[in-house]
């Protein structure tokens, strides 16, 4: 009986994922109402629950896809994959104000460049603090502090060692997860409550998953604005890190 149940779930993984997500959101919304009395968004709780489940999944299987590495939960990787995520992000643009997008203009574009350089510099400084001194390793770790995609792309382009590439991915993952959890907590203090600030936030943070979840837990109406600028960040990082930023690091180190 159990075998048939497991086989049914595994053969219909995506459909099963709808049920799991519905359960997680239902329980989280209940907790938000009854325990926090609406002080914390139900979706913020659900995202933290999702991350905890991902951690448990990682410990149980030793894989890299969190909960989705457990066969009966594999549908979570499809539903939460880049295809559905980006499709839903595009859908949120329906009803977005074009005037708000235009208003931000060059500050939005500037925030993307500044976001990449800022995270990169912080990453490089931390790596120096931990005793790294060769420009390739420093650049790769700095690139990882931008996003977990820019790190390995840069490391591969420059020929960094695999353990340094792994470190850059870990730095990028830390950033992404912290943006998911931290955004709703600091949103009020940093003025993240309007389309203009959301576009700058997207450009500075850059991690698509972090921005997507961070805004979902703060105010879903801001999603299209943050996503608009964040979508240029990884490309900008892949462009700048292995070229201009690498040369700058190499030059500064003599």
């Amino acid at each position: 009986m159990i075998e048939t149940l497991v086989a049914t779930i595994e053969a219909n993984a995506l459909i099963a994922a709808f049920v799991y997500v519905g359960l997680i959101l239902g329980i989280s919304n209940w907790c938000a109402r009854k325990i926090t009395h609406g002080r914390i968004h139900g979706s913020a709780i659900a995202i933290v629950v999702g991350l905890l489940l991902a951690y448990i999944g990682g410990i149980v299987t030793g894989g890299t896809k969190g909960l989705a590495d457990i066969a009966v939960f594999s549908g979570m990787a499809v539903l939460g994959g880049a295809m559905f995520r980006d499709f839903a992000i595009v859908a949120t643009a329906f009803g977005a104000e074009l005037s708000a997008l235009k208003e931000t203009g060059w500050v939005g574009a500037f925030s993307v460049v500044l976001g990449v350089v800022l995270s990169f510099v912080v990453g490089v400084l931390v790596a120096i603090g931990f005793g790294y001194s060769d420009p390739i390793s420093l650049t790769t770790i700095g690139a990882g502090a931008a996003t977990y995609i820019v790190g390995p792309v840069t490391g591969t382009a420059l020929g960094a060692s695999s353990d340094v590439v792994a470190l850059s991915v870990a730095a990028g993952l830390t950033k992404s997860i912290l943006v998911m959890v931290g955004t709703p907590l600091v949103a009020g203090r940093i003025g993240l409550d309007n389309p203009h600030a959301a576009m700058i936030y997207g450009g500075l943070m850059g991690t698509t998953s972090g921005v997507a979840a961070g805004l979902a837990a703060t105010d879903p109406k801001l999603v299209p604005y943050g996503a608009m600028t964040a979508t240029f960040y990884t490309g900008m990082g892949c462009l700048l890190a292995p070229s201009v930023l690498y040369f700058a690091v190499a030059w500064l180190l003599g």
């Binding site: 329906f94 830390t174 600028t229």
Partner: protein
């Protein structure tokens, strides 16, 4: 028909991702540059374009707003498939680099937000 809305959304998505890929190739970058953003602008533009606008009856728009509403559930699933263990097992250097990058970026938001507004006044 609802499917018209879904089809319009899917069309915008594909065109955007394709153009983002082309832009990446053009820049010699191994990444999609702004594909989602291009798709969003295309959707906003097409939905406001008069021949399409006439077609976008409320029931057709439901095909788009459904996916917009599915955004949060999808993000929950995305959280559940993150490599959280990988982030935590990277050691102190990775944790510190990621954390400080986020703190520095958060601090810059009010600065840039004021900058942009001031420029506009």
């Amino acid at each position: 028909m609802i499917v018209y809305g879904v089809a319009l959304l899917a069309f915008c998505y594909l065109v955007g991702i394709y153009l983002g890929g082309l832009l990446g190739n053009l820049l010699g970058v191994d990444a999609n540059v702004g594909g989602v953003g291009i798709a969003m602008l295309l959707l906003i533009g097409l939905a406001a374009w008069s021949p399409v606008k006439v077609q976008l009856e409320p029931i057709t728009a439901t095909g788009i707003t459904f996916w917009s509403a599915m955004y949060i559930p999808i993000v929950i699933a995305m959280a559940a498939k993150q490599n959280v263990l990988g982030a935590l097992s990277g050691g102190w250097m990775a944790l510190l680099a990621g954390t400080l990058a986020v703190v520095a970026s958060f601090l810059m938001i009010p600065v840039l937000a004021r900058f942009g507004r001031h420029d506009h006044d």
